[in-house]
């Protein structure tokens, strides 16, 4: 009977290993082989760390990494900030909030590839609504268009992503705000607490745990951004908006260099896990588990 607990959890563990560990181990093995589907349907030979060396020596990798980090950190921060602001607004008893809540979920339900197409049209230098709006308020837009300039291409992807995923933060954080006891807020109000004090001392601590979880989930998701890049800029102009997700797509599904794509995959796994590990260490160390 001592083994019963292990037996009961064994199916889950096996399933988990099969679904998570096997692909990763398979990719790890491939990363040490020369395997290019353009020249051979099967792995040709063991090449040690050559694939890793080639990936790290490629200027495109460093560019992609920098762009990915910029996009991921700024995207996560902006979506959280805007999401929190919207959540606070939703929690007020203003007219039309129930409709706003229903509408808010819509961007999150659209496939990123569709969002990409929508924004491609909206950024169109010939009559795109975003271009028109920005020009109308006197902003000096690049002649090549928002998507065609090295200065604005990554920003354009960021804006599209923020548009789509801010509601996700808003809804989750709004749910967190609902858990704040009304009696606590009433007591604070009777004690003369200002709105800022009520937010900072009461509401924010309540949504903090939820926020920490969705921040890291969204960070990991954003780190692999690919769809928007493919539709909006294809990583260009130059490499100004190329992300690691797009580089992986290029290596794996355009160049069909399975060895290099596997090596890049593992580098991404290492980088993301290092960042997530540090985040968990610092963010969750005061948690009582």
């Amino acid at each position: 009977m001592a083994y019963l607990p292990y037996l009961l959890v064994a199916p889950s563990i096996i399933l988990l290993l099969g679904l998570i560990a096997y692909p990763l181990v398979f990719a790890l093995k491939n990363s040490f082989y020369f395997w290019n589907l353009q020249t051979s349907a099967t792995p040709v030979g063991f090449v040690g760390f050559a694939n890793y060396q080639m990936v790290l020596a490629s200027p495109a990798f460093l560019n992609s990494l920098i762009n990915t980090l910029v996009l991921t950190f700024s995207g996560t921060a902006l979506e959280f900030a805007f999401g929190l602001a919207i959540a606070l607004l939703l929690s007020t008893r203003l007219r039309g909030m129930s409709v706003a809540r229903a509408l808010l979920i819509m961007p999150t339900t659209i496939a990123p590839i569709v969002v990409g197409f929508l924004f491609r049209y909206m950024y169109d230098p010939q009559g795109g609504i975003i271009t028109w709006l920005m020009a109308s308020i006197g902003l000096d837009l690049p002649a090549q268009g928002i998507l065609g300039s090295t200065n604005t291409a990554l920003l354009a992807i960021l804006i599209a992503d923020v548009w789509q995923w801010t509601p996700f933060f808003a809804i989750i954080l709004y749910a967190g705000l609902l858990s704040v006891p009304v009696s606590l807020l009433e007591a604070a109000r009777l004690d003369g607490a200002s709105a800022w004090v009520m937010f900072w001392r009461i509401k924010f601590p309540f949504v903090m745990r939820t926020a920490l979880i969705i921040l890291i989930l969204r960070f990991m998701q954003l780190f692999n951004t690919f769809d928007l890049v493919l539709v909006l800029t294809r990583g260009g102009p130059g490499t100004s908006s190329r992300t690691l997700g797009y580089t992986l797509y290029q290596q794996g599904l355009i160049d069909f260099n399975i060895g290099m794509a596997s090596a890049t995959t593992w580098l991404v796994v290492i980088i993301v896990n290092a960042i997530v590990g540090l985040y968990i260490f610092f963010a969750f160390r005061k948690w009582e588990w």
Partner: protein
């Protein structure tokens, strides 16, 4: 016919299974060699994966004829260019291909044949009088459909490249543009564009031209036409050589002239063309503010619409002419050939039915029927068969067919974009470096030097320098010999 049908009924499965089993049984018993299941009265359904280029829409409209004629049902599914290659390769590698006919780009042909993913068609074509293989333009078969002396696929749409210009703009500005029988140089072409650029014609501020700037594939497709015209070559000896030598020859004066030329054209284009894909350039021309540009021949008809396959006429529909591509001095003209072809996956158990489909879809009768489809304002004239360029019904709709035939006859797709085994990787490198030149991140000299280094590393890294596998002297003459052998 069924479109994008993902579900399969039990009846279909039963029919297919019975058909396949009966065919296999007949074959194993030696009852007439390749005895097709459909010929024995059993309904067969084949699955066709097609890329969604203009030919797809015309084919879709006439595909019922195939079922009427053969009793074979067709499930036709369309995919984008990138998605098609990704889906095919992953399904071939994992042995999960569910298609009986697949669309094959000329750059994928060698990869698919060498890996055994598609069947060579020699056995099917040899002695099949219905195919009428001698009617195909040899330049097209050479560029699109042959690999190592074998017929790998059959062309369903063949493209060359040519110049389109606004007649009213040229007339108003007094610019001479040669007709189909004339010729001009790239310098004259650029001067004409420069003369159009910035002019106000009938109230429209004109750009001289429009290019494709988006990396990697669109920019390479357009640039390589200029490069081929200037006499630039990618490799020391490929494919027309008994000993293939993939040493890159990218960093050459001819390639430099082509890069400079392309950068000049971008200066005379709308700045946002840096992000233009294939259709963006054509669609921009059809809006009426572009004086002249060169592009794939399907745009000879696509620009008649005000958007991609809209069926609504554009403002330039009755106001454009076709002109020959410019040449670079005395360098013999080479026109880039492209298009789409159908092949038969090795995994299909319905190869005979698939072959019937290939023959039917590429036949003169079907191609003509596709050209006569008017659903989208007549949007298909990409014929690979010589006989259709003289067809009076078709020339009445597509008056430029004679010019287009001349462009195809000057075509050599294996020079413009040589189908080396790692072509897509090289295309990615070229596309990125060219794009950087256009946005001013590097000079043409730096770009060619980088390209040459990266080409060399890539080709060495993939064991293509030195080339140790058997070579094949892949010349247009070898294709003519193949045609004669199969006829």
């Amino acid at each position: 016919m069924k479109m994008r049908s993902s579900g399969v009924s039990r009846r279909q499965v039963l029919k297919t299974t019975i058909g396949t089993t009966a065919g296999a049984a007949a074959y194993s018993l030696g009852l007439g060699g390749r005895a097709p299941a459909y010929a024995q009265g059993n309904a067969t359904t084949i699955r066709v994966l097609s890329v969604e280029d203009p030919f797809f829409f015309a084919l879709r409209d006439v595909i019922g004829d195939f079922t009427d004629q053969t009793g074979i049902d067709v499930e036709l599914e369309s995919l984008s260019y990138d998605a098609m290659q990704a889906r095919l390769v992953t399904s071939f590698v994992s042995n999960t291909s569910d298609a009986d006919v697949v669309t094959v780009d000329q750059m994928w042909t060698g990869q698919y044949i060498d890996n055994g993913w598609i069947r060579p068609l020699d056995e099917f074509a040899a002695g099949d009088a219905d195919l009428d293989i001698t009617d195909f333009m040899p330049e097209v078969l050479y560029s699109l459909n042959t690999w190592r002396g074998h017929l790998a696929t059959l062309p369903v749409a063949a493209y060359a490249q040519g110049v389109m210009y606004r007649r009213s703009v040229a007339d108003q500005l007094g610019l001479d543009i040669p007709d189909a029988t004339g010729s001009w140089t790239w310098d004259a072409y650029t001067d004409t564009i420069a003369a159009m650029n910035g002019q106000n014609v009938n109230g429209t501020d004109m750009f001289g031209t429009v290019i494709c700037g988006s990396q990697p594939t669109p920019i390479v497709h357009m640039f390589t036409q200029a490069a081929a015209s200037y006499g630039a070559r990618w490799f020391a000896d490929f494919p027309a050589s008994p000993e293939w030598d993939f040493t890159p020859t990218i960093n050459s004066p001819e390639m430099m002239a082509a890069v400079d030329q392309y950068a000049r054209l971008y200066d005379l284009s709308p700045p946002e063309a840096i992000n233009y894909l294939w259709f963006d350039a054509g669609t921009r021309f059809s809006t009426g503010d572009i004086g002249m540009f060169y592009w794939w021949t399907p745009y000879f008809y696509l620009i008649k619409n005000n958007g991609y396959m809209t069926g609504e006429p554009s403002v330039v529909a009755d106001d454009y002419g076709i002109a020959p591509l410019p040449v670079a001095g005395s360098t013999p003209q080479v026109i880039s050939l492209g298009g789409w072809s159908f092949g038969i996956p090795s995994t299909t158990e319905k190869a005979d039915a698939a072959w019937e489909f290939l023959k039917w879809s590429t036949s003169a009768a079907t191609q003509k029927a596709m050209g006569l489809v008017d659903t989208y304002n007549y949007q298909f004239s990409d014929f690979a068969r010589r006989s259709l360029y003289d067809d009076s019904d078709l020339t009445a709709i597509y008056p430029y067919l004679g010019t287009q035939a001349g462009m195809l006859a000057q075509g050599n797709g294996k020079i413009a974009r040589p189908p080396a085994p790692v072509y897509t990787t090289l295309e990615g490198i070229m596309g990125l470096e060219l794009n950087k030149v256009l946005i001013g991140q590097q000079t043409a000299e730096e770009a060619l030097s980088t390209m040459d280094d990266l080409f060399l590393n890539t080709l060495r890294g993939n064991f293509l320098i030195p080339y140790s596998l058997p070579s094949f002297d892949d010349t247009p003459e070898a294709t003519v010999e193949l045609i004669n052998r199969l006829a």
